[in-house]
């Protein structure tokens, strides 16, 4: 599944979600739908690549938290990488940089 703001690719080893541009109140609902679909498949390992993410807001953070908590609750692993600039500042403000190991 993909959209203008994210792309999901699945291999034998992991599911990779690349998020780009803005992850905000307007774009987060579409990613949330993809997260629901992904969780239904109970993936063992999910990698979220935020290298191309320019801006995130609280709605975008909420979707990533939903993903992180949901996959881990199923016994899966989640790794979030590549956050920079504004998104990294938001994760640090919300003390999520430690949880996400950014």
């Amino acid at each position: 599944m993909s959209s203008e703001n994210f792309k999901v690719t699945t291999t034998a080893d992991e599911t990779r979600i690349q998020v780009r541009g803005m992850l905000d109140v307007n774009t987060a609902p579409t990613l949330a739908e993809a997260v629901d679909e992904l969780m239904a498949k109970r993936p063992a390992r999910v990698l979220v690549d935020l290298t191309a993410l320019d801006i995130i807001d609280s709605s975008g953070v909420a979707v990533l938290v939903k993903l992180y908590k949901g996959i881990r609750a199923q016994g899966g692993q989640v790794q979030i990488t590549g956050a920079r600039d504004q998104p990294l500042a938001i994760f640090k403000l919300l003390r999520m940089d430690k949880v996400f190991a950014l």
Binding site: M22, D24, V25, N26, D54, I55, D57, S58, S59, V61, A62, V65, K66, Y68, K69, D85, Q86, A89, I90, L93, L94, R95, M96, V99
Partner: protein, 158 residues
């Protein structure tokens, strides 16, 4: 108070949010990088400066709050935005005619837990020097941020 440098009016709808955010981002550049050559045609946001990132993040959350809570996602009212810039600060006012909001009722989230909501006002308050709200009509949000002086460079001994 002098007239604002920028005035902007738009529907209080999330559809117009990116327009407002783009304008505020460019206004921030006037403060944080006054000598830089602007490139407003770039499709990508440049929020590498912490001042820009802070102001844009806070402004976007307040815009969300108005569109979602004051106007209930109906988009049936307007948002008037005024921006003042100085050499070292920015002030942004947002006025709306939606339902008033009780800023004092918003709790500070417990950050030792991962939350899936309720972080917007905390983000705005944390990143700005001042967040004021006056219930209306019109409701008025006033956001202020001062540019922090760059840390002095350590001298090379002597």
């Amino acid at each position: 108070m002098s007239p604002p440098a920028v005035r902007l009016s738009m529907p209080g709808s999330l559809r117009y949010r990116a327009v407002a955010v783009r304008v505020v981002a460019e206004a921030c550049r006037l403060v944080s990088r006054p000598d830089a050559e602007g490139d407003a045609s770039s499709p990508a946001y440049d929020l590498t400066h912490p001042f820009d990132a802070a102001v844009v993040s806070a402004f976007a959350e307040i815009f969300n709050n108005i569109a979602i809570h004051a106007y209930g996602r109906r988009g049936d009212g307007g948002i008037d935005i005024a921006i003042w810039v100085t050499d070292d600060s920015i002030e942004v006012e947002l006025r709306d005619h939606g339902s008033p909001f009780d800023l004092s009722s918003v709790p500070v989230p417990a950050l030792d837990e991962l939350h899936e909501g309720g972080m917007g006002i905390h983000i705005a308050r944390s990143l700005l020097d001042e967040v004021e709200y006056e219930p209306g009509p019109p409701n008025l949000w006033r956001l202020r941020k001062r540019l922090e002086a760059a840390p002095a460079r350590a001298s090379a001994g002597g």
